[in-house]
Symmetry: C2
Subunit: 265 residues, 2 copies
């Protein structure tokens, strides 16, 4: 049974036009499906409106108690429920979830860790209420999916001790995909700004159609895969080794095209 799990970032879902286009295309994907979304820009905007300046370190949000309240409101409320209502209007029986709901994503709070700063120095950073995932409990989720429900997951986990935890959406997508791979034939789709992994960063038409695990090290050596793309592809291949059938890296407006983007397998 084929299942497509699409992960889409905040830039797409926080703009009404690009969100509607995404959901139209998501609705056209055949078979079982799951959507994992971000929402960071809205969280930053609303936090600032509420007088809470946001601090990002090495691209990650420092999440104090008040900021956790804001990301919970924005991810689990504003962004998630808007997507759910819009999918229901497209006859998709969506169910919005945090990781606390049905204990789907059990996590622990990240201990302070050494992080490399922009100037190259190392600094011990306490990211606050940020989660690292221990376990995805996918049994009830898989039952619901088999009954036609489409889970819409926002990037919040919980520690089973009463705290919600702000969690990286890419990681949630990969961990949920791995857990569902026990039941379904899972394709994990990461929406990027580019049309896929490019052989030449300056040429949008140089999309590499397929990268196998065997081919990957050579692409890294040649410098074709580097920077922020490197950990993303490493995570993708981790997911494949953990049972995910394939990972597609594509643009949000091409998620319903079976031959678009870069296929990792």
């Amino acid at each position: 049974m084929k299942l497509t799990l699409v992960k889409v970032g905040g830039a797409i879902v926080e703009n009404a036009d690009s969100l509607h286009l995404l959901l139209d295309k998501f609705a056209r994907i055949d078979g079982y499906k799951v959507l994992v979304h971000g929402g960071g820009r809205s969280a930053t905007r609303i936090a600032e409106q509420l007088g809470l300046p946001q601090q990002m370190i090495a691209g990650r949000r420092v999440t104090d108690a008040e900021t956790l309240r804001v990301v919970t409101m924005v991810y689990a409320g504003l962004v998630n429920k808007d997507i759910v209502a819009e999918l229901q209007a497209r006859d998709i029986n969506a169910l919005g979830l945090t990781g606390a709901d049905m204990n789907v994503i059990q996590s622990h709070r990240r201990a302070p860790k050494n992080v490399r700063m922009a100037d190259g120095s190392m600094q011990l950073v306490d990211y606050g209420f940020v989660g690292d995932i221990d376990r995805v409990n996918a049994d009830l989720l898989a039952d619901l999916i088999a009954k036609g429900v489409v889970p819409v997951v926002c990037p919040i986990g919980h520690d089973a001790k009463g705290s919600l935890l702000n969690t990286n959406a890419d990681t949630i997508a990969a961990e949920v995909a791995k857990a569902l791979a026990a039941v379904f034939d899972v394709t994990l789709v990461f929406c990027f700004e580019k049309r896929g992994v490019l052989r030449d960063a300056d040429d949008d038409n140089s999309v590499i159609s397929t990268i196998t695990q065997a081919e990957f090290p050579a692409l890294v050596e040649q410098g074709i895969v580097s920077g922020g793309m490197l950990p993303k592809l490493e995570n993708a291949f981790d997911a494949i080794r953990a049972g995910v059938h394939e990972v597609i890296i594509t643009r949000a407006d091409a998620i319903d095209e079976s031959d678009a983007g870069t296929r990792l397998c």
Copy 2:
């Protein structure tokens, strides 16, 4: 199969101490259960922090598009997910829901209607994105409950055309209770500030232990049930006529006591 559906208002769930006490007691209720909650005070506070003054007419919130965004953030995000995480910490497998999730509560936007103002005059009021319930789809919900999931429902419905709709929490509780009565033996518990329906409004110890449908008209004639209590009891007896086994009116700190409050049957 006995199911207890507890409806609790915003005053209880928006204060950490009273919320924790409520959830401790809710966790102790035997059998299947559902929680329906409000959150109006937080919504008003956050709306005002965001520079959106709130307008209440005859006790109901006028919900323009921006206010709908705020109530969605607060009810479905902040309040709902805090309750879900706290219940998970108490080994209750909670699932937070709006009416859009799994299409549980399908509604339509309320047409402008004539409302009696405080000064006795009538005025045509458009409450904006406020919902009246058409249908509760309880099949998937009943399946999940039978598997040990405890739904936590916030007062938001949807119109199946992409709009969420702000909806009265008492009405949601009654309609969900009626729909679940097809499968379960439902006790509907409304948490009040008083210990129950009082024979003497000035005497907190004058709780009437039971009111039957046959006894109700006489209590209205005698003026013992009047004011805001009257429509609440009328709705309760409606629910009983629609198949709900009994309705209990009690204080939030007594929901786990089987002989507390007033029992309507």
